[in-house]
């Protein structure tokens, strides 16, 4: 792999940029691998990367139905934060934030991680109490989060409307300064390049159509659109399609798949300094480095695999954006799209072994998986390599739905998050 550096940039500039080469190879699938990862999104590629880097397993294939990073990795609003209520969540998401901080150096790829601060608005007394509870819980867990008055919130984010005449006036905000955004495509590309450099095969346009199991029930490989590929271990990281893949191995999941939409505006000059989220009026907004406002809407109410959702969902979000940021009322929206998110009953992910020997699953990230990409891949790689969970994902089993020991961020956040 050619290392990227200032020096390399100058050298290539002198040579007309003809020497960069491919960022990752596209090999033909081998007959058998030690580990197959199903799904080349951020989480899947990160899993392969950490398996190769930290566990010395390099005979890995990452199989992707479409193109690399073309699912939810390329469809989200790129928000990164770790101010979750429960200890298990704080552990997992803050593990990810710590990895985000050095990810560009680690991958030798600029993922444009920008800790510009994530501000969550409180619009009623309940919000105020819940956010303050979050702040105290976060601080006990060593996760930064602080309370801002409406005036302080406006100082941090000048476009914010804190007038008492707003339909849902801002009563304060919780700010996580280490939160922010990253460039979603670069995350997929950076992991693919770094994994490929360590010998991982990233195989695109290769749809998994079946999971083959031996006489003792052990996984022996997967059927794909490019033929059978053997594997000792299979890790499913298929986001919205997890139920479909797992059914091929006769495992029923506590998951439902919903469309989640996002949209971007026309690009404008830098005007929006941070990320603002409001659960109550349901809007998420930040400005990309390209200048577009990136806006996240809610899920549709029905399950679907259509990668598209209802227009009224977007409209509802834009109503809220215009109310909170009156200066955006005349912005034109450029594009909108939908992704399919797999949601668990407690809105926390599953990163675990399954009842099938040799089969592992990393799913249930719902509407907020991007932020966890490095941490998720890191602990899932540990789980696959050791056939045992990492300390951080011990609680994220499927069996928690039998025991009732949920990680109930659904109730904590009051919305899908």
């Amino acid at each position: 792999m050619r290392r990227y550096s200032g020096f390399a940039l100058v050298r290539e500039a002198m040579r007309g940029h003809k020497g960069w080469g491919q960022q990752w190879s596209s090999p033909e699938p081998k007959k058998e691998y030690d580990v197959i990862i199903v799904g080349a999104g951020g989480h899947g590629l990160a899993t392969a990367y950490y398996l190769a880097k930290e566990h010395g397993i390099t005979n890995i294939a990452v199989l992707e139905k479409g193109w690399l990073g073309g699912g939810n990795t390329g469809r989200n609003t790129t928000i990164i934060r770790s101010n979750y209520l429960y200890d298990e969540s704080a552990g997992l998401y803050d593990h990810a934030v710590k990895l985000w901080e050095n990810l560009s150096q680690d991958l030798n790829y600029n993922v444009m991680y920008s800790p510009r601060g994530v501000m969550m608005l409180a619009h009623n007394v309940h919000d105020v109490q819940v956010f303050k509870r979050h702040i105290h819980a976060n601080r006990l867990n060593g996760v930064d989060n602080e309370w801002l008055t409406p005036e302080a919130a406006k100082e941090y984010c000048p476009p914010l409307n804190i007038s008492q005449s707003a339909r849902y006036p801002v009563m304060g905000a919780a700010l996580q300064r280490r939160g922010g955004t990253a460039r979603h495509d670069a995350v997929a590309w950076g992991y693919a390049r770094a994994a490929s450099d360590r010998g991982v095969h990233v195989i695109q346009n290769c749809e998994v159509t079946g999971v083959r199991r031996g006489g003792n029930g052990q996984v022996t490989g997967v059927e794909t659109s490019r033929g059978f590929i053997g594997a000792k271990k299979v890790g499913v990281v298929a986001a919205g399609h997890t139920s479909v893949i797992m059914e091929m191995a006769d495992v029923r999941m506590p998951l439902e798949s919903f469309p989640l939409q996002a949209l971007v505006s026309e690009p404008v000059k830098p005007c929006f300094p941070c990320v603002v989220m409001s659960n109550t009026v349901h809007a998420y907004i930040s400005q990309s480095d390209k200048g577009e406002l990136v806006i996240g809407a809610g899920t549709d109410q029905y399950t679907s695999y259509s990668q598209t959702g209802g227009l009224h969902i977007i409209q509802h979000t834009l109503d809220a954006i215009c109310e909170m940021f009156p200066m955006f009322t005349r912005m034109k929206m450029l594009r909108s799209w939908g992704g399919i998110v797999d949601v668990t009953p407690d809105r926390s992910p599953i990163i675990a072994k399954t009842p099938v020997s040799g089969l592992y699953v990393n799913c249930g990230w719902g509407t907020g998986g991007f932020k966890a990409t490095p941490g998720s891949g890191h602990v899932f790689a540990h789980t696959i390599a050791n056939d045992n969970p990492h300390r951080i994902n011990t609680a994220y089993t499927i069996e928690r739905f039998n025991s009732g020991r949920l990680i109930d961020e659904a109730a904590a956040a009051a919305v899908a998050h």
Partner: protein
């Protein structure tokens, strides 16, 4: 937005009037206090989540307020049919031939 045919109002109405209410034909075990944790989880948490035809409950919240069931294709989001609560799963091949108002699809795109 979906257009949904309410089998009670016998009218096709916009999705805004309805609430989705999860997978249909899930029967609450009568001896719920005695069943195992696994059996309870299977009833309460585990779902088919099919890519294809799903049988699901809807409630015509801002209309007749009654629950009914629907068969919908989760790839195209088209309704194959809707039917009253308590009725058995419909024969979908039959439904396709019965000229049931199954045109409901996406609008507002």
């Amino acid at each position: 937005m979906l257009l949904i045919h309410c089998p009670y109002c016998e009218e096709e109405r916009p999705e805004m009037e309805f609430r989705h209410a999860g997978e249909a034909h899930l029967e609450r075990p009568k001896n719920i206090a005695e069943i195992s944790d696994e059996a309870f989880a299977a009833y309460f948490f585990y779902r088919d989540n099919p890519k294809g035809v799903v049988f699901e409950r809807w409630r015509h919240l801002h209309g007749c307020a009654r629950f009914f069931n629907a068969a919908r294709d989760t790839v195209s989001d088209k309704f194959l049919t809707t039917y009253k609560a308590g009725q058995p799963k419909p024969d979908l091949v039959g439904a396709a031939n019965m000229n049931i108002p199954a045109k409901s699809g996406k609008s507002g795109k």
